[in-house]
Amino acid sequence: MKRYFHHELEDLRKHLILMGERTIDSVRLSMQSLLADDVSMAGQVIALDDEIDRLEVLIDAECVRYITLRQPVAHDVRLMTVAMKTNHELERAGDEATSIAKRARRLAEFGKVDEFFNIPRMGDLALEQLRDAMDSFIAEDVEKALLVPKRDKEVDDLNRDNYVKLTDKISGHPETSHATIELIFISKSLERIADHATNIAEEVVYLLKGEDVRHTNEVRRSVM
Protein backbone atom coordinates (compact mmCIF):
# COMPACT_ATOMS: atom_id res chain seq x y z
CA MET A 1 0.00 0.00 0.00
CA LYS A 2 1.51 3.29 -1.03
CA ARG A 3 1.19 5.84 1.77
CA TYR A 4 0.52 9.52 1.22
CA PHE A 5 4.03 10.43 2.35
CA HIS A 6 5.90 7.95 0.14
CA HIS A 7 6.40 10.62 -2.50
CA GLU A 8 9.00 12.03 -0.09
CA LEU A 9 11.14 8.96 -0.83
CA GLU A 10 10.86 9.62 -4.53
CA ASP A 11 11.80 13.26 -4.02
CA LEU A 12 14.84 12.17 -2.04
CA ARG A 13 15.94 9.78 -4.79
CA LYS A 14 15.53 12.51 -7.39
CA HIS A 15 17.66 14.93 -5.37
CA LEU A 16 20.35 12.31 -4.89
CA ILE A 17 20.40 11.51 -8.59
CA LEU A 18 20.59 15.22 -9.39
CA MET A 19 23.50 15.60 -7.00
CA GLY A 20 25.25 12.68 -8.71
CA GLU A 21 24.75 14.33 -12.09
CA ARG A 22 26.14 17.63 -10.86
CA THR A 23 29.17 15.94 -9.36
CA ILE A 24 29.86 14.03 -12.58
CA ASP A 25 29.51 17.30 -14.52
CA SER A 26 31.91 18.94 -12.13
CA VAL A 27 34.58 16.24 -12.55
CA ARG A 28 34.16 16.23 -16.32
CA LEU A 29 34.46 20.01 -16.58
CA SER A 30 37.47 20.12 -14.28
CA MET A 31 39.27 17.56 -16.49
CA GLN A 32 38.35 19.49 -19.63
CA SER A 33 39.63 22.66 -18.00
CA LEU A 34 42.92 20.92 -17.23
CA LEU A 35 43.50 19.04 -20.47
CA ALA A 36 42.22 21.74 -22.83
CA ASP A 37 43.99 24.45 -20.84
CA ASP A 38 40.69 26.34 -20.63
CA VAL A 39 40.53 28.29 -17.39
CA SER A 40 37.04 29.62 -18.16
CA MET A 41 35.66 26.22 -17.26
CA ALA A 42 37.07 26.53 -13.75
CA GLY A 43 34.43 29.15 -12.99
CA GLN A 44 31.70 26.72 -14.04
CA VAL A 45 33.11 24.06 -11.76
CA ILE A 46 33.10 26.45 -8.81
CA ALA A 47 29.47 27.36 -9.50
CA LEU A 48 28.54 23.68 -9.66
CA ASP A 49 30.22 23.17 -6.31
CA ASP A 50 27.84 25.71 -4.74
CA GLU A 51 24.90 23.76 -6.12
CA ILE A 52 26.35 20.48 -4.87
CA ASP A 53 26.76 21.99 -1.41
CA ARG A 54 23.13 23.17 -1.41
CA LEU A 55 21.93 19.73 -2.40
CA GLU A 56 23.99 18.18 0.38
CA VAL A 57 22.23 20.33 2.99
CA LEU A 58 18.82 19.67 1.42
CA ILE A 59 19.27 15.90 1.26
CA ASP A 60 20.50 15.66 4.84
CA ALA A 61 17.50 17.69 6.00
CA GLU A 62 15.11 15.49 4.00
CA CYS A 63 16.61 12.35 5.52
CA VAL A 64 16.46 13.58 9.10
CA ARG A 65 12.89 14.74 8.59
CA TYR A 66 11.82 11.44 7.07
CA ILE A 67 13.50 9.40 9.79
CA THR A 68 11.87 11.54 12.49
CA LEU A 69 8.36 11.79 11.12
CA ARG A 70 7.92 8.51 9.23
CA GLN A 71 9.91 5.96 11.32
CA PRO A 72 11.17 4.02 8.30
CA VAL A 73 12.29 0.44 8.56
CA ALA A 74 13.86 -2.16 6.25
CA HIS A 75 14.65 -0.81 2.79
CA ASP A 76 13.45 2.68 3.65
CA VAL A 77 15.74 3.14 6.65
CA ARG A 78 18.64 1.77 4.61
CA LEU A 79 17.80 4.33 1.95
CA MET A 80 18.02 7.06 4.56
CA THR A 81 21.45 6.03 5.81
CA VAL A 82 22.72 5.38 2.30
CA ALA A 83 21.42 8.73 1.11
CA MET A 84 23.18 10.59 3.91
CA LYS A 85 26.46 8.80 3.32
CA THR A 86 26.29 9.00 -0.48
CA ASN A 87 25.46 12.66 -0.09
CA HIS A 88 28.69 13.18 1.76
CA GLU A 89 30.74 11.13 -0.74
CA LEU A 90 29.38 13.15 -3.65
CA GLU A 91 30.05 16.43 -1.90
CA ARG A 92 33.64 15.40 -1.23
CA ALA A 93 34.06 14.29 -4.86
CA GLY A 94 32.73 17.68 -5.91
CA ASP A 95 35.30 19.37 -3.69
CA GLU A 96 38.07 17.33 -5.31
CA ALA A 97 36.82 18.39 -8.75
CA THR A 98 36.88 22.03 -7.63
CA SER A 99 40.43 21.51 -6.38
CA ILE A 100 41.43 20.14 -9.80
CA ALA A 101 39.86 23.14 -11.54
CA LYS A 102 41.68 25.60 -9.27
CA ARG A 103 44.97 23.80 -9.82
CA ALA A 104 44.33 23.83 -13.58
CA ARG A 105 44.00 27.61 -13.32
CA ARG A 106 47.32 27.81 -11.46
CA LEU A 107 49.00 25.49 -13.95
CA ALA A 108 48.00 27.81 -16.77
CA GLU A 109 50.22 30.45 -15.20
CA PHE A 110 53.24 28.19 -15.64
CA GLY A 111 52.66 27.68 -19.36
CA LYS A 112 51.44 24.68 -21.33
CA VAL A 113 51.88 21.32 -19.63
CA ASP A 114 54.09 19.11 -21.78
CA GLU A 115 53.00 15.78 -20.33
CA PHE A 116 50.09 14.70 -18.17
CA PHE A 117 51.36 11.15 -17.61
CA ASN A 118 48.47 8.96 -16.36
CA ILE A 119 46.19 11.85 -15.46
CA PRO A 120 43.92 11.70 -18.55
CA ARG A 121 43.40 7.96 -18.09
CA MET A 122 42.72 8.46 -14.39
CA GLY A 123 40.17 11.15 -15.26
CA ASP A 124 38.36 8.79 -17.61
CA LEU A 125 38.36 6.01 -15.05
CA ALA A 126 37.20 8.26 -12.19
CA LEU A 127 34.31 9.52 -14.32
CA GLU A 128 33.41 5.99 -15.36
CA GLN A 129 33.46 4.84 -11.71
CA LEU A 130 31.21 7.70 -10.64
CA ARG A 131 28.78 7.08 -13.48
CA ASP A 132 28.63 3.36 -12.80
CA ALA A 133 28.12 3.90 -9.08
CA MET A 134 25.22 6.29 -9.71
CA ASP A 135 23.79 4.10 -12.46
CA SER A 136 23.81 1.13 -10.11
CA PHE A 137 21.75 3.21 -7.66
CA ILE A 138 19.30 4.39 -10.31
CA ALA A 139 18.89 0.96 -11.90
CA GLU A 140 19.08 -0.89 -8.55
CA ASP A 141 21.77 -3.09 -10.08
CA VAL A 142 23.82 -4.97 -7.49
CA GLU A 143 26.13 -6.57 -10.04
CA LYS A 144 27.04 -3.22 -11.54
CA ALA A 145 27.66 -1.82 -8.06
CA LEU A 146 29.97 -4.71 -7.12
CA LEU A 147 32.16 -4.10 -10.18
CA VAL A 148 33.06 -0.54 -9.16
CA PRO A 149 35.25 -1.37 -6.14
CA LYS A 150 37.07 -4.05 -8.11
CA ARG A 151 38.21 -1.50 -10.69
CA ASP A 152 39.52 0.90 -8.09
CA LYS A 153 42.89 -0.87 -8.04
CA GLU A 154 43.70 0.34 -11.53
CA VAL A 155 43.21 3.97 -10.46
CA ASP A 156 45.32 3.44 -7.37
CA ASP A 157 48.10 1.87 -9.45
CA LEU A 158 48.04 4.74 -11.93
CA ASN A 159 48.30 7.25 -9.09
CA ARG A 160 51.29 5.43 -7.60
CA ASP A 161 52.94 5.35 -11.00
CA ASN A 162 52.28 9.07 -11.41
CA TYR A 163 53.89 9.76 -8.09
CA VAL A 164 57.08 7.96 -9.10
CA LYS A 165 57.26 9.62 -12.50
CA LEU A 166 56.39 13.09 -11.29
CA THR A 167 58.85 13.02 -8.41
CA ASP A 168 61.50 11.80 -10.87
CA LYS A 169 60.65 14.76 -13.06
CA ILE A 170 61.16 17.16 -10.17
CA SER A 171 64.54 15.57 -9.49
CA GLY A 172 65.58 15.85 -13.14
CA HIS A 173 64.01 19.22 -13.87
CA PRO A 174 63.67 21.24 -10.67
CA GLU A 175 62.56 24.32 -12.66
CA THR A 176 59.28 22.46 -13.29
CA SER A 177 58.70 21.65 -9.61
CA HIS A 178 55.83 24.11 -9.04
CA ALA A 179 53.85 22.82 -12.00
CA THR A 180 54.73 19.20 -11.30
CA ILE A 181 53.62 19.42 -7.68
CA GLU A 182 50.22 20.65 -8.92
CA LEU A 183 50.02 17.54 -11.11
CA ILE A 184 50.84 15.31 -8.12
CA PHE A 185 47.94 16.86 -6.22
CA ILE A 186 45.64 16.53 -9.23
CA SER A 187 46.54 12.85 -9.51
CA LYS A 188 45.72 12.41 -5.84
CA SER A 189 42.38 14.20 -6.27
CA LEU A 190 41.42 11.84 -9.09
CA GLU A 191 42.39 8.85 -6.96
CA ARG A 192 40.15 10.24 -4.18
CA ILE A 193 37.25 10.75 -6.60
CA ALA A 194 37.50 7.09 -7.60
CA ASP A 195 37.54 6.16 -3.90
CA HIS A 196 34.35 8.15 -3.32
CA ALA A 197 32.74 6.36 -6.26
CA THR A 198 33.76 3.03 -4.73
CA ASN A 199 32.25 4.02 -1.39
CA ILE A 200 29.00 4.97 -3.11
CA ALA A 201 28.85 1.64 -4.90
CA GLU A 202 29.36 -0.21 -1.61
CA GLU A 203 26.48 1.76 -0.12
CA VAL A 204 24.30 0.78 -3.07
CA VAL A 205 25.02 -2.89 -2.34
CA TYR A 206 24.00 -2.32 1.28
CA LEU A 207 20.81 -0.59 0.14
CA LEU A 208 19.81 -3.36 -2.22
CA LYS A 209 20.98 -6.45 -0.34
CA GLY A 210 21.15 -5.26 3.25
CA GLU A 211 24.73 -6.53 3.36
CA ASP A 212 27.66 -4.38 4.39
CA VAL A 213 30.41 -5.32 1.91
CA ARG A 214 32.89 -2.69 2.98
CA HIS A 215 36.37 -4.05 3.71
CA THR A 216 35.39 -7.54 2.61
CA ASN A 217 37.08 -9.79 0.11
CA GLU A 218 34.12 -9.35 -2.15
CA VAL A 219 35.23 -5.80 -2.90
CA ARG A 220 38.88 -6.02 -1.95
CA ARG A 221 40.87 -3.25 -3.55
CA SER A 222 44.53 -2.44 -3.57
CA VAL A 223 46.37 -2.15 -0.28
CA MET A 224 49.31 0.22 0.10
Partner: protein
Protein backbone atom coordinates in the same frame (compact mmCIF):
# COMPACT_ATOMS: atom_id res chain seq x y z
CA UNK B 1 -32.95 20.26 2.81
CA UNK B 2 -29.33 20.75 3.66
CA UNK B 3 -30.01 23.67 5.95
CA UNK B 4 -31.45 21.26 8.52
CA UNK B 5 -28.01 19.83 9.06
CA UNK B 6 -25.32 21.92 7.52
CA UNK B 7 -24.25 25.39 8.50
CA UNK B 8 -26.77 25.37 11.29
CA UNK B 9 -26.34 28.12 13.86
CA UNK B 10 -25.66 26.91 17.35
CA UNK B 11 -28.93 28.33 18.64
CA UNK B 12 -32.24 26.44 18.28
CA UNK B 13 -34.76 28.42 16.22
CA UNK B 14 -37.74 28.79 18.58
CA UNK B 15 -37.05 28.32 22.21
CA UNK B 16 -33.45 29.33 22.78
CA UNK B 17 -32.20 32.71 23.79
CA UNK B 18 -30.48 34.78 21.11
CA UNK B 19 -26.87 33.84 20.50
CA UNK B 20 -24.20 35.97 22.07
CA UNK B 21 -22.52 38.57 19.90
CA UNK B 22 -19.96 36.65 17.85
CA UNK B 23 -16.34 37.32 18.65
CA UNK B 24 -14.14 38.66 15.84
CA UNK B 25 -13.03 36.04 13.31
CA UNK B 26 -9.41 36.84 14.04
CA UNK B 27 -9.29 37.53 17.73
CA UNK B 28 -6.58 39.63 19.24
CA UNK B 29 -3.58 37.70 20.39
CA UNK B 30 -4.01 36.11 23.80
CA UNK B 31 -1.91 37.04 26.79
CA UNK B 32 1.72 36.38 25.88
CA UNK B 33 2.42 32.73 26.50
CA UNK B 34 5.68 31.11 27.54
CA UNK B 35 8.08 30.70 24.66
CA UNK B 36 7.42 26.99 24.43
CA UNK B 37 3.73 27.38 23.49
CA UNK B 38 2.88 28.75 20.07
CA UNK B 39 -0.57 30.30 20.34
CA UNK B 40 -0.21 32.88 17.59
CA UNK B 41 -1.13 31.54 14.16
CA UNK B 42 0.59 32.27 10.88
CA UNK B 43 -0.77 35.41 9.20
CA UNK B 44 -4.27 35.07 7.66
CA UNK B 45 -4.68 31.43 8.74
CA UNK B 46 -8.31 30.62 9.44
CA UNK B 47 -8.82 29.46 12.98
CA UNK B 48 -11.17 26.59 13.78
CA UNK B 49 -10.90 26.82 17.57
CA UNK B 50 -9.67 29.62 19.79
CA UNK B 51 -9.20 28.06 23.22
CA UNK B 52 -8.78 30.72 25.88
CA UNK B 53 -7.54 29.88 29.35
CA UNK B 54 -9.55 26.66 29.49
CA UNK B 55 -9.72 24.72 32.71
CA UNK B 56 -11.90 21.64 33.19
CA UNK B 57 -12.90 20.13 36.47
CA UNK B 58 -14.50 16.85 37.42
CA UNK B 59 -15.77 17.68 40.86
CA UNK B 60 -12.76 18.96 42.76
CA UNK B 61 -10.25 17.38 40.38
CA UNK B 62 -8.81 19.77 37.80
CA UNK B 63 -8.14 17.73 34.68
CA UNK B 64 -7.17 20.57 32.34
CA UNK B 65 -5.29 23.61 33.58
CA UNK B 66 -5.40 27.02 31.91
CA UNK B 67 -4.93 25.87 28.34
CA UNK B 68 -4.80 28.44 25.55
CA UNK B 69 -4.24 27.48 21.95
CA UNK B 70 -5.39 28.29 18.44
CA UNK B 71 -6.30 25.31 16.26
CA UNK B 72 -6.02 26.09 12.55
CA UNK B 73 -8.80 25.19 10.17
CA UNK B 74 -8.35 22.74 7.30
CA UNK B 75 -5.52 20.81 8.90
CA UNK B 76 -4.82 18.02 11.35
CA UNK B 77 -3.81 18.91 14.89
CA UNK B 78 -2.61 16.15 17.20
CA UNK B 79 -2.72 16.12 20.97
CA UNK B 80 -0.22 13.83 22.65
CA UNK B 81 0.80 13.11 26.19
CA UNK B 82 0.93 10.33 28.80
CA UNK B 83 -2.19 8.72 30.18
CA UNK B 84 -4.18 10.99 32.43
CA UNK B 85 -2.67 14.19 31.10
CA UNK B 86 -6.03 15.69 30.15
CA UNK B 87 -5.80 15.32 26.39
CA UNK B 88 -9.08 13.43 25.94
CA UNK B 89 -10.83 15.78 28.37
CA UNK B 90 -9.61 18.78 26.38
CA UNK B 91 -10.75 17.14 23.15
CA UNK B 92 -14.19 16.35 24.49
CA UNK B 93 -14.62 19.96 25.55
CA UNK B 94 -14.41 20.98 21.90
CA UNK B 95 -17.88 19.58 21.31
CA UNK B 96 -19.19 19.74 24.86
CA UNK B 97 -19.06 15.97 25.31
CA UNK B 98 -17.35 16.37 28.68
CA UNK B 99 -20.62 17.84 30.00
CA UNK B 100 -22.14 14.37 29.86
CA UNK B 101 -19.91 13.41 32.79
CA UNK B 102 -21.64 14.22 36.09
CA UNK B 103 -19.83 16.92 38.00
CA UNK B 104 -17.98 18.28 34.99
CA UNK B 105 -17.52 22.04 34.74
CA UNK B 106 -15.16 24.41 33.05
CA UNK B 107 -13.77 27.93 33.12
CA UNK B 108 -12.39 29.85 30.21
CA UNK B 109 -13.70 29.99 26.66
CA UNK B 110 -13.73 27.99 23.48
CA UNK B 111 -14.55 29.96 20.37
CA UNK B 112 -15.38 28.08 17.22
CA UNK B 113 -14.91 30.34 14.25
CA UNK B 114 -15.43 33.24 16.56
CA UNK B 115 -18.52 31.93 18.34
CA UNK B 116 -18.45 30.92 22.00
CA UNK B 117 -19.42 27.25 22.16
CA UNK B 118 -20.58 27.70 25.75
CA UNK B 119 -22.32 31.03 25.27
CA UNK B 120 -25.84 31.58 26.60
CA UNK B 121 -28.44 29.87 24.45
CA UNK B 122 -25.97 27.75 22.57
CA UNK B 123 -27.45 24.29 21.94
CA UNK B 124 -24.96 21.56 22.76
CA UNK B 125 -26.67 19.17 20.36
CA UNK B 126 -26.12 21.54 17.48
CA UNK B 127 -22.51 21.97 18.55
CA UNK B 128 -22.06 18.20 18.39
CA UNK B 129 -23.62 18.11 14.95
CA UNK B 130 -21.09 20.63 13.64
CA UNK B 131 -18.23 19.07 15.55
CA UNK B 132 -18.34 15.33 15.01
CA UNK B 133 -16.54 12.78 17.12
CA UNK B 134 -14.93 9.42 16.49
CA UNK B 135 -14.17 7.32 19.53
CA UNK B 136 -11.43 4.91 20.44
CA UNK B 137 -13.65 1.90 20.24
CA UNK B 138 -15.71 1.86 17.08
CA UNK B 139 -19.40 1.92 17.96
CA UNK B 140 -21.68 1.20 15.02
CA UNK B 141 -25.23 0.81 16.24
CA UNK B 142 -25.64 -2.93 16.66
CA UNK B 143 -29.21 -3.21 15.47
CA UNK B 144 -28.70 -1.17 12.30
CA UNK B 145 -27.37 -2.08 8.88
CA UNK B 146 -24.37 -0.42 7.27
CA UNK B 147 -26.62 1.99 5.37
CA UNK B 148 -28.81 2.70 8.38
CA UNK B 149 -25.77 3.41 10.51
CA UNK B 150 -24.54 6.04 8.07
CA UNK B 151 -27.94 7.70 7.67
CA UNK B 152 -29.13 7.59 11.27
CA UNK B 153 -28.13 11.19 11.97
CA UNK B 154 -30.01 12.50 8.94
CA UNK B 155 -33.09 10.42 9.67
CA UNK B 156 -33.19 11.57 13.29
CA UNK B 157 -33.29 15.11 11.92
CA UNK B 158 -36.32 14.35 9.79
CA UNK B 159 -34.64 13.92 6.41
CA UNK B 160 -36.86 11.63 4.33
CA UNK B 161 -36.00 12.30 0.69
CA UNK B 162 -34.83 8.90 -0.59
CA UNK B 163 -32.79 10.24 -3.47
CA UNK B 164 -31.00 12.65 -1.16
CA UNK B 165 -30.33 9.94 1.40
CA UNK B 166 -29.02 7.54 -1.20
CA UNK B 167 -26.66 10.15 -2.57
CA UNK B 168 -25.47 11.16 0.89
CA UNK B 169 -24.94 7.51 1.80
CA UNK B 170 -22.63 6.89 -1.13
CA UNK B 171 -20.80 10.18 -0.71
CA UNK B 172 -20.13 9.53 2.96
CA UNK B 173 -18.96 5.98 2.44
CA UNK B 174 -16.70 7.11 -0.40
CA UNK B 175 -15.22 9.87 1.75
CA UNK B 176 -14.56 7.25 4.42
CA UNK B 177 -12.85 5.04 1.82
CA UNK B 178 -15.37 2.29 2.53
CA UNK B 179 -17.78 2.39 -0.42
CA UNK B 180 -16.02 -0.15 -2.61
CA UNK B 181 -15.83 -2.64 0.24
CA UNK B 182 -19.49 -2.47 1.27
CA UNK B 183 -21.50 -1.20 -1.70
CA UNK B 184 -22.83 -4.63 -2.55
CA UNK B 185 -24.11 -5.41 0.94
CA UNK B 186 -25.29 -2.19 2.49
CA UNK B 187 -28.08 -4.03 4.27
CA UNK B 188 -25.77 -6.22 6.28
CA UNK B 189 -25.27 -5.39 9.96
CA UNK B 190 -22.68 -2.71 10.66
CA UNK B 191 -21.22 -4.91 13.38
CA UNK B 192 -20.45 -7.59 10.79
CA UNK B 193 -17.54 -5.56 9.45
CA UNK B 194 -13.93 -5.89 10.54
CA UNK B 195 -12.58 -3.56 13.23
CA UNK B 196 -10.98 -1.20 10.75
CA UNK B 197 -14.08 -1.17 8.58
CA UNK B 198 -16.29 -0.46 11.59
CA UNK B 199 -14.16 2.53 12.47
CA UNK B 200 -14.41 3.85 8.92
CA UNK B 201 -18.16 3.24 9.09
CA UNK B 202 -18.27 5.43 12.18
CA UNK B 203 -16.34 8.09 10.29
CA UNK B 204 -18.84 7.83 7.42
CA UNK B 205 -21.66 8.20 9.93
CA UNK B 206 -20.03 11.34 11.32
CA UNK B 207 -19.43 12.74 7.85
CA UNK B 208 -23.02 12.12 6.72
CA UNK B 209 -24.28 15.10 8.73
CA UNK B 210 -21.55 17.22 7.17
CA UNK B 211 -19.78 18.48 10.25
CA UNK B 212 -17.17 21.19 9.94
CA UNK B 213 -14.76 19.62 12.33
CA UNK B 214 -13.91 16.04 13.26
CA UNK B 215 -12.58 15.12 16.65
CA UNK B 216 -10.90 11.74 16.95
CA UNK B 217 -10.07 10.20 20.29
CA UNK B 218 -7.41 7.54 19.69
CA UNK B 219 -9.26 6.25 16.63
CA UNK B 220 -6.69 3.59 15.76
CA UNK B 221 -5.71 2.21 19.14
CA UNK B 222 -7.87 -0.88 18.65
CA UNK B 223 -6.85 -1.46 15.05
CA UNK B 224 -4.15 -3.57 13.38
CA UNK B 225 -1.37 -1.84 11.39
CA UNK B 226 -3.08 -2.18 8.01
CA UNK B 227 -6.39 -0.86 9.29
CA UNK B 228 -4.49 1.92 11.05
CA UNK B 229 -2.76 2.84 7.80
CA UNK B 230 -6.11 3.00 6.01
CA UNK B 231 -7.58 5.29 8.66
CA UNK B 232 -4.49 7.50 8.50
CA UNK B 233 -4.80 7.71 4.72
CA UNK B 234 -8.43 8.68 5.25
CA UNK B 235 -7.48 11.41 7.72
CA UNK B 236 -4.97 12.72 5.19
CA UNK B 237 -7.61 12.84 2.46
CA UNK B 238 -10.17 14.56 4.70
CA UNK B 239 -8.06 17.46 5.83
CA UNK B 240 -8.56 19.44 2.64
CA UNK B 241 -12.26 19.73 3.56
CA UNK B 242 -12.32 19.34 7.34
CA UNK B 243 -10.47 20.38 10.42
CA UNK B 244 -9.33 17.31 12.33
CA UNK B 245 -8.20 17.22 15.95
CA UNK B 246 -6.84 13.87 16.98
CA UNK B 247 -5.79 12.59 20.37
CA UNK B 248 -3.31 9.78 20.16
CA UNK B 249 -0.97 8.00 22.48
CA UNK B 250 0.93 6.82 19.41
CA UNK B 251 3.56 9.50 18.89
CA UNK B 252 4.56 8.07 15.56
CA UNK B 253 1.00 8.47 14.37
CA UNK B 254 0.97 12.09 15.48
CA UNK B 255 4.19 12.62 13.55
CA UNK B 256 2.74 11.01 10.43
CA UNK B 257 -0.66 12.63 10.22
CA UNK B 258 -0.56 16.08 11.79
CA UNK B 259 0.63 19.55 10.89
CA UNK B 260 0.66 20.80 14.48
CA UNK B 261 1.10 18.87 17.71
CA UNK B 262 0.22 19.83 21.26
CA UNK B 263 1.98 18.08 24.14
CA UNK B 264 -0.02 17.87 27.35
CA UNK B 265 1.29 16.84 30.74
CA UNK B 266 -0.60 16.77 34.04
CA UNK B 267 -3.40 18.85 32.61
CA UNK B 268 -1.17 21.57 31.22
CA UNK B 269 -0.24 22.43 27.67
CA UNK B 270 3.53 22.16 27.70
CA UNK B 271 4.38 22.83 24.08
CA UNK B 272 2.33 23.47 20.95
CA UNK B 273 4.14 23.87 17.67
CA UNK B 274 4.45 22.56 14.12
CA UNK B 275 4.80 18.80 14.26
CA UNK B 276 8.24 18.92 12.69
CA UNK B 277 9.47 21.12 15.49
CA UNK B 278 7.93 19.00 18.25
CA UNK B 279 9.62 15.85 16.99
CA UNK B 280 12.83 17.22 15.52
CA UNK B 281 13.72 20.11 17.78
CA UNK B 282 11.33 20.55 20.72
CA UNK B 283 11.90 23.64 22.79
CA UNK B 284 10.75 22.33 26.16
CA UNK B 285 12.84 19.69 27.97
CA UNK B 286 9.69 17.85 29.06
CA UNK B 287 8.59 17.56 25.45
CA UNK B 288 12.05 16.33 24.47
CA UNK B 289 11.91 13.74 27.24
CA UNK B 290 8.46 12.51 26.22
CA UNK B 291 8.95 12.24 22.47
CA UNK B 292 12.33 10.56 22.90
CA UNK B 293 10.89 7.98 25.27
CA UNK B 294 12.81 9.14 28.32
CA UNK B 295 9.73 9.93 30.33
CA UNK B 296 9.28 8.41 33.78
Amino acid sequence: MNSVITNQPFVMSDTAKPAAEPAPVHPTAPTPAPASTSATPAPKQEIAFDIQDLSIFYGSHQAVKNVSMLIPAGSVTAIIGPSGCGKSTALRALNRMHELTPGARHTGKILMKGQDLYGPGIDATVVRRRVGMIFQKSNPFPTLSIAENVLVGLRLNGVKDKAFLSKRLEESLRMAALWDEVKDHLNRPGTGLSGGQQQRLCIARALAVRPEILLMDEPCSALDPIATAKVEELIHSLKSQYTVVIVTHNMQQAARVSEKTAFFYMGKLIEYAPTEQIFMNPKDPQTEAYVSGRFG
